[in-house]
């Protein structure tokens, strides 16, 4: 039996596994799955080169539905497992699918360390601001006051900001997209893939069962334009149905203006994904909510450095020889 695969002819279908998808009807995860399958098919890489790694959560069932290599690991540890995979075989395209609880609560440490090391892995965080799989408890992205099974009188916690956290950890690529923004998500995922190094993509996702409508202010067709701003490198920050609004900087803070009334196009902030301070400021904004690539900077990847060092040492010392290893130091001979 021959197993040759021609990457050129791959379609979305090729990336669908034979397992029944088991999310609740209407769950935002479906749209993400569909887009990821589509994007993967277009990347020009054969299926066997993809590894999709996840933790535990509704979102983390993702690998089962992808006809690639997949590993549904344990809660919060996917970035560490992915790092091991990437280090062992840098040839693979390694993707982490995770949830807000998985990545930001139990897995927070692995996320920030993967970010700072800059191993070339792509982290897709499905943020539904709730624990779906365990049936509706507070998550680190649930807003203060939110009532859940574990916070019946409202949350008393300040939520974490995933964009800020990953920027603070030193991620080289930080982006946000939304489950229902199909083409935006596709572009963002492709940008993440093209980025050489660690890429973090927050995907706002609707949980129909335990947190329905969490992101509606940003996703409902009629409101969307007024509450979402698309980040495009080198372009001024405009939004609104007729692109009539924009963002200006005032006293070190972002403010919304009406073009022509409060300000002119030249006054608007121009998006520069190479500026960490701007990215941090944009990360603070909730209305309008920025989507797109907040920050991107090219740096050598962790595995690049690691393998370069291995090669350097080999060049200097020659390929390791067990005999030499055993005989290092003082030896004596008995005859």
């Amino acid at each position: 039996m021959t197993l040759t695969v021609n990457p050129k002819v791959l379609t979305k279908k090729d990336f669908a596994s034979d397992q029944t998808v088991r999310w609740c009807p209407g769950c935002g995860d479906y749209a993400i799955l569909s887009t990821v399958q589509k994007v993967f098919a277009q990347l020009g890489l054969p299926r066997e080169k993809f590894v999709v790694v996840s933790g535990i959560g509704c979102s983390s069932r993702f690998p089962y539905y992808m006809n690639t290599y997949g590993f549904h690991t344990i809660h919060g540890r996917a970035p560490a497992v992915a790092t091991g995979i990437k280090l062992a075989n840098p040839d693979l395209s390694v993707w982490v699918v995770t949830g807000d609880g998985d990545a930001l609560s139990i897995g927070g440490n692995h996320l920030i360390h993967a970010a700072r090391r800059n191993a070339d892995i792509k982290v897709l965080l499905f943020n539904n601001a709730i624990y779906g799989l365990t049936k509706g408890q507070l998550s680190p992205t649930s807003p203060r006051g939110m009532k859940t099974k574990s916070s019946p009188y409202g949350s008393v916690e300040r939520p974490v900001n995933p964009i800020h956290l990953t920027l603070g950890a030193g991620a080289t690529f930080v982006a946000r997209t939304v489950d229902v923004f199909q083409s935006h998500m596709a572009e963002t995922l492709e940008a993440a893939y093209r980025h050489k190094g660690f890429a973090f993509v927050e995907i706002l996702q609707n949980c129909v069962i335990f947190n329905h409508g969490m992101w509606f202010p940003y996703t409902e067709r009629d409101r969307r334009h007024d509450h979402v701003v698309y980040l495009e490198p080198g372009k001024p920050l405009r939004f609104g149905k007729a692109q009539e609004k924009g963002l200006v900087m005032k006293d070190g803070k972002m403010e919304t203006v009406i073009l022509g009334e409060d300000a002119a196009e030249e006054d608007l902030v121009v998006h520069d994904p190479s500026s960490p301070a701007l990215a941090f400021m944009l990360g603070q904004l909730r209305d309008p909510l920025p989507v797109g690539v907040f920050y991107q900077v090219e740096q050598p990847t962790y595995e690049e450095w690691m393998y370069r060092q291995m090669e350097d040492v080999k060049r200097q010392k020659g390929k390791g020889d067990l005999k030499a290893l055993y005989h290092a130091g003082d030896t004596w001979v008995v005859e």
Binding site: V53, T83, N89, L322, Y326, V334
Partner: protein, 620 residues
Amino acid sequence: MEKEAPLEAPVWQRVVVRFAGDSGDGMQLTGNQFSLASVLAHRDISTLPEFPAEIRAPAGTLGGVSAFQIQVGGQDVLTPGDQPDVLVAMNPASLKVSLPELPRGALIIVNTDAFTPANLKKAGYTTNPLEDGSLRDYQVIPVPITRLNREAVKDVEGLDKKFIDRSKNFFALGLVYWLFDLKPDPTLAWIDRKFGKRNPAVAEANKRALMAGYNYGITAELFQHRYRIPSVDFPPGTYRRITGNEALAMGLVTAAQKAGKMLFYGAYPITPASDILHHLAPLRHYDVLTFQAEDEIAAMAAAVGAAFAGAFAAVGTSGPGMLLKAEALNLAVMAELPLVVIDVQRGGPSTGLPTKVEQADLLMALFGRNGESPLVVVAPSTPADAFDMAIEAFRLAVRAMTPVVLLSDGFLANSSEPWRIPDPEDIPPIPVRHPSVRNNGGRFLPYKRDPETLARPWAIPGTPGLEHRIGGLEKEPETGNVSYDPQHHQRMVKERAEKIERLAGVIPEAEVFGPEEGDLLVVGWGSTFGAIREAVRQAQDQGLSVAHMHLRYLNPMPRNVGQVLKRYKHVLVPELNMGQLAWLLQARYLVPVEKLNKVQGRPFKTVEILKAIEQMVDGR
């Protein structure tokens, strides 16, 4: 002219020497040089360094004492010795700390210059033990080492003042070389290699100090006799000294190379396991990738990932780190991936005694994971054995597609013994198969087991056509698809257990040292090997009917263990814990065992075991 020791000087089969001083006195270096000189003179040795607790205590205090004990012998030396026959004490604190260990009549070489009122006070002495008669039961050799040494190095050109006293350990070493009739040459050569280029003045000072000490031995007539130790008939070969941690590092690299694999070593530093990482990190040119993770969880998880991707993956840690690794290790049990987990045991519970030896993680290794989670547990018994067991661990891991836990400990980790260097060619390869075609017609079944070993195929990402998904949820047999079916769970639980049990068919039977049946069987595991073997040998020499079985495989156990246990009237299990192997044996074989337990952060002394043996065989 060299004065020979009196002709009637006895031949010592073994002598135990202890170098003790302040952390700053270079005692580890001194001990290591003495070990080297001994092995180069074809004596057998076993060594035990004793560091102060992790943080540097103030100089001169009891907490700051650093010591190095070594047993040198003309026949099989199995332990660093119960009691020092010779103590070199560089200051009052080291004398005080060591004294309780000494037998009456022991020889004590003291640096009298260090017995100043200030130092005596720091050591908690109210009177000077050199003067108050408290040492009357010992042969005290007072030597003004500091002064003599200063004299020796005073003319070294360009010697920075602060280095003058630093060479005094070489003076002491020289004196001991003379006492043991050992050649100072290897140390002279070592000094040249180490300091010759970087700091010739220091090299010169150290060499002069060494020779001054040696010559002082010749001329001063301090000793009643020199120690004559016959040389050992080692089997022919090239030898080196090896510690447990070195042996593990070399074993892991060897295993990987023998499989044509990269070695992925995930670690988060922790005493006493960190040295394995330190030994491996420089081996980049051996395709060794060391990953210092953010914590033990990540180290373990990354190793699981690396194993999934096809590397030879190992991790090394100690007790607290084992707890953090448990969840990802359990994932490896479920995902059925091969990897090696080294636990260099130390005193517990919790942070416990981080630098001290203990064997109290055995039951944790076996049972410390949720659910029924069988895996292989092995334990090397000597530093050199650690090399073999590291390779064996990988061999078993790959054969059964299972994680293997290797239990070392803080004593094995740092103690050393001569190691006959193997020819790498003689080490059999570790066969690894990664399938490249589907194992079920048009489908690939990631959990289709090998009928002989019950191992599942190790198909690695990157292989076209074998795309598959694994995870920590229970599975349908063969397909590996998630399944909550009651029968699937029952079957998978059994198969995971059975596959480990089947390894009993390929591991060697446990060897028995001594009579095939008799009054007493002493059963041990891990680093207590030397002390137990020595005690059993001495008991046998007394004519007692005693045998020794040492378990290097704890799970599965060698297939003959049950039968062996039943051939003796009594069973004694000495352990550096409260009786964990004893529990196991009772639970498994329903054979009553007597326990000998010690939890003091120290290895057994031979005499402690011997006494227990005598009591059990004579005493009733």
